[in-house]
Point group: C2
Chain length 483, copies 2
C-alpha cells in the first residue's frame, strides 16, 4: 500500500482559488456533445494519470463548471455558501463519519440533537423531534410516512392494501416532490389533490375546505395537507393559520413545506409571515437554500416526540445493540430511513456558532432587503413587468418586454412571442456569461423570469442594477427571426 494522493490535498486550495477567482467567468457554456468532445480524455477513467495530469484535468473540469459563487448565478434557489458552512463541511468530510450511533459519532450526535432542539424552538414546536435528511424531497417522504403511520400504525407491518383510500392536499404551486412521494409510498399520484392558488400563489383555503368535503363525500380518507411556506416559483407563503384551522377541524396531518421559506424564521421581523407554522405536525426546512449552508443541509421536524423512531425503527441487532455499555438512547440512527448518514448538522452548527441568532437574522434581513430593492427597481423600470407584486420570499418574477414589442396589442400571438423570447433571452445571457437566471411558465402565465436571492457575502444593490442592465441589453438583441 502507498500513501499516494496525500500531497494532492495540498493542491486543492490553489486549484479552488484560481478557478473561482473574480476574473473567472460565471460560465463558459458548451453544448453537451461539444463538451464531451473537449473533455473526452479528461473524463476517461480506465487509465490512471499522475498528480500533475490529474490537476490539469480537474482544472479543465472546473473551468467548464458553473461558478455558483458569483452574484450573477441566479439560476436556482441556492448560491454561494457561507464560508463557515464550507469550513464545517470540509471538516466533516475529512472526519468521514456516519451519524447512526453515539459510539462512532459522539459529538456529532450531540450536535445534531442540539441543532434540532434549537430549531424546534425557533419554529415554535419545542419538545418535538427531528432529523437531518438528504434533501427536501426526502423530508417530504418522511412527512407522509409519519402522517400515515400516526393514523394507521398497522401500515408498517401490513402495508397499504387494507387501508382506506387516502387523499393528500397541496396547492397547485407547491413543489413536485409530493408527486414523487405519493408514487413511492404507494398512495399513487392521483391521490394528490391540487388546490387552486390566488394570484400571489397562495393556496385558496376555501378551495381546500371544499376539496376535503368532496373527498369525504367520495368515501376517501383525507390524511395530509401540505402547506407551502415559500413556493418554488413565486415564493408565496400559504395562510398557515387558516390551513391549521382546516386541518384541526377535519383532524388531518398538517405539514409545512418550508424548505425555501423557512429561512425567514431567523429574522425577528420576517418570521411573522409564517405565523401559524407552530400548529404544524411536521415541517421541512432546507438551510442549504436561503441562508447559504452547503448542499445538502435539510431538516425534517415533527411536533410529536418519539413518532419518528416508532415509525422508522427496524432495531438492527448488529448496529443498535441494546447491551452496549453506554446509554443507547443516544443511538439516534434508527429514526432514519437511511443507515449510513452524513454529518449534515455540523456545517450548520459552524454557521450558527460563528454568527449566532443575531447574525443569521442579519443575513436574512439583508437577503430580503436586496429583494425588495430588486422588486421596486423592476416595478419602476420600463420594459419589465411583474408577474406578482407580492413579496413574501426573496423571489421576483417578471417578463422582459423588448422595445419592439412594447406598443403592440397584447393578444394571444403577442404572448406566444413573449413565451419564446424569454428562453431566447436566457440563452443570450448564458452564452455571454452575464447572468444565469431561471424561467418558467406557471398556470396561465407564459414563460417569465424568476430572480431569487439567497445568502451572498458581497451582493449589494448595485449588483441588482447590473443584473437588470444585462437583461435589458441582451433583451434588445432578441428579434423575431431568432425565436
Amino acid at each position: 500500500m502507498d500513501t499516494k494522493g496525500h500531497s494532492f490535498l495540498d493542491r486543492v486550495f490553489n486549484i479552488l482559488k484560481d478557478e473561482t477567482a473574480d476574473e473567472v467567468p460565471l460560465i463558459q457554456f458548451k453544448h453537451p456533445k461539444e463538451l464531451e468532445e473537449i473533455l473526452s480524455n479528461d473524463l476517461d477513467i480506465s487509465i490512471n494519470v499522475d498528480d500533475k495530469e490529474l490537476e490539469n484535468s480537474v482544472r479543465k473540469i472546473l473551468q467548464y463548471s458553473v461558478k455558483t459563487n458569483k452574484v450573477t448565478f441566479r439560476n436556482q434557489l441556492y448560491g454561494p455558501m457561507d464560508p463557515y458552512g464550507l469550513a464545517g463541511t470540509w471538516i466533516a468530510e475529512a472526519f468521514n463519519t456516519s451519524q447512526y450511533t453515539f459510539e462512532v459519532a459522539p459529538v456529532f450526535t450531540l450536535i445534531e440533537l442540539k441543532m434540532i432542539e434549537h430549531i424546534l424552538k425557533l419554529f415554535g414546536i419545542p419538545g418535538g423531534d427531528g432529523i437531518f435528511s438528504p434533501g427536501g424531497s426526502v423530508s417530504m417522504l418522511y412527512a407522509l410516512v409519519a402522517a400515515r403511520f400516526k393514523k394507521f400504525p398497522e401500515v408498517k407491518s401490513k402495508g397499504m392494501q387494507k387501508l382506506p383510500e387516502m387523499t393528500i392536499f397541496t396547492s397547485e404551486d407547491s413543489h413536485y416532490s409530493i408527486i414523487k412521494a405519493a408514487h413511492w409510498l404507494g398512495f399513487g399520484t392521483e391521490s394528490v389533490i391540487s388546490i387552486k392558488t390566488n394570484s400571489s400563489g397562495q393556496m385558496i383555503v376555501n378551495e381546500l375546505n371544499k376539496a376535503i368535503e368532496r373527498q369525504l363525500g367520495l368515501g376517501k380518507y383525507p390524511v395530509f395537507v401540505n402547506a407551502t411556506a415559500g413556493t418554488t416559483v413565486l415564493g408565496a407563503i400559504d395562510d398557515l393559520e387558516a390551513i391549521a384551522s382546516v386541518c384541526k377541524k377535519y383532524d388531518i396531518w398538517m405539514h409545512v413545506d418550508a424548505c425555501w421559506g423557512g429561512g425567514l424564521m431567523l429574522s425577528a421581523t420576517l418570521r411573522k409571515r409564517l405565523q401559524g407554522i407552530q400548529f404544524a405536525d411536521s415541517i421541512s426546512w432546507n438551510p442549504h437554500k436561503m441562508i447559504g449552508a452547503p448542499l445538502q443541509c435539510s431538516i425534517f421536524l415533527l411536533k410529536e416526540k418519539g413518532l419518528l423512531h416508532e415509525a422508522n425503527a427496524a432495531a438492527a441487532q448488529y448496529l443498535f445493540q441494546q447491551d452496549k455499555f453506554y446509554d443507547v438512547r443516544y443511538d439516534t440512527g434508527d429514526k432514519s430511513v437511511q443507515c449510513g448518514r452524513k454529518i449534515d448538522s455540523f456545517k450548520l452548527w459552524m454557521m450558527w456558532k460563528a454568527r449566532g441568532d443575531i447574525g443569521l437574522c442579519k443575513v436574512m434581513d439583508h437577503v430580503m432587503s436586496i429583494s425588495e430593492f430588486c422588486l421596486r427597481s423592476i416595478a419602476e423600470r420600463e420594459g419589465f413587468r411583474l408577474v406578482s407584486d407580492t413579496l413574501q420570499c426573496p423571489n421576483i418574477c417578471f417578463w422582459y418586454i423588448p422595445v419592439f414589442m412594447r406598443k403592440r396589442e397584447e393578444n394571444d400571438e403577442w404572448w406566444a412571442l413573449i413565451h419564446k423570447i424569454t428562453p431566447k433571452l436566457k440563452e443570450l445571457l448564458t452564452l455571454s456569461s452575464r447572468l444565469m437566471i431561471a424561467y418558467t411558465p406557471l398556470r396561465h402565465h407564459k414563460n417569465f423570469f424568476r430572480l431569487a436571492f439567497t445568502f451572498h457575502p458581497v451582493l449589494e444593490e448595485n449588483h441588482v442594477l447590473e443584473i437588470l442592465k444585462s437583461i435589458e441589453e441582451c433583451g434588445e438583441m432578441v428579434n423575431t427571426d431568432m425565436v
Copy 2:
C-alpha cells in the same frame, strides 16, 4: 454584508492536521451526559463567537470525535478515505452544485454519466442505467420502486391498493434496509419473506424456491428477490447464478445488494465471487465502504435503460423545461426521487482517474490479502474461535475466549457468559482507545466480534497482529465480576 469567515477556511488545514495527527488517540470516550457537560458552552449556538473561540470549540469537538482514519477503527464497514476522494469531495463542496440539470452542472452531469457507464460495464450490464443515491438504503428504495413499476406501471398514478398482494424475498442475514423500504413503499414489513441461510451466511436457494412456491400457493404475487453480495456481518455472497435461475423461472425482479461486496468487482481475481451478478435487474454498490470513497458515495444500477426515468419523472416545468436551448436529454435529474442532489460522482471520478482500473484492483487485492492474513492468524491463535472460516468479503467474525473460560464445558451458561464478555471486552478496548470493533449476535450465535477491512493507506499485517494483541490483553482483564 461582510466577508466574515473566509479567513477561517485557511485554518481548516491546520486544525485537521493537528487533530488527526499520529499521536492523537483513536477515541477519548465520554458517556453522553458527561460529554454534554464538557461541551456545553461549545455546543450552545445562540450567542456568536469570534474566529479564535470558534477554532477552540471546533478543536474540542474533534478531540472527542472518533478518528476513523486510524488502523484501529474497525467499528463499521468504512474507514479512512482515499485522499483523492477527499480532494474530490472538498472541490465538489466548494463548487456547491446540484446535480439535476445540465445547465447548472454541465461537467458534473457528464461525469455522473461516464462513471455509471464505466461501472455498468464492470458489473456486466452495459447499456443499462443508473444514478448516484444518498446511500444504500435509498438505493434499496429505488430498486423496489423500479421492480414494482415494471410489473405494475399503474402503481405510479393509482397506488398500491388495487394491486395484488406482493411478496419480497431476502435472506435472514441481509441488510435491514429492505424492512424499512417495505414499510415506506407501502408493501408492509410482513411482505418480506426471510429465507434461511447456511452456516457461511448465504441464502439457501432451495429454501427460496420453496418460499416462492408457498407464496404462490397463498395467492400472493412474488415481485422481488434481494440477493446479497456481502452480508453486513459475515460478508457472505449469495449464489447469484442460482438465484438468477430462480428469478428467471418465476419471472421475478432480481436485485443484488452489493453495497458492501461490490468492491470485489474491481479485482480481476476476486470478481468471480459475484458470478451471476450480470443477470441482475438492478444492483446497488456503495464505493464509500470497501474502497474508501468519502461518505456518501452510493450507486444504483439497472439493466433496463429508461425505466428509472419513466418510473420517477414528474416533469416539473420550472426545472425540466422542454424549450431549453440545449439537448434536454442531458437534464438527468428527473430520474431521481430527489430534487437537489449532491455531486457524489466527482469524488469517485477523482479516485478512479488517479488510480485507474489497475490501481483500484490493487487496492481491493490488498484489502483482501490483509483479511486473509487476519483470518489465518485468528484460526491459529489460542483463545480465538472463528464463527465461519469462509472468507468471501473482508469480514472476519470470531469470539475471544479468555483463559479462565477455555477449559470449561461449553454449555448454555458458558455461552451466556461469552455473550456478556464480548460487549464488556469491547468496552475495555474502546475506553483504552486501543480498538473500536463491532460485535453482534447472529441467529443462534451469541455475541461475537466482526473485524472488517476496507481501503487504508498504511494498514499492513503487523497492524492486524497489534489488533489481535489488544483483544487478548483486554480480554484477559475481563472477569465474571464485571459482567
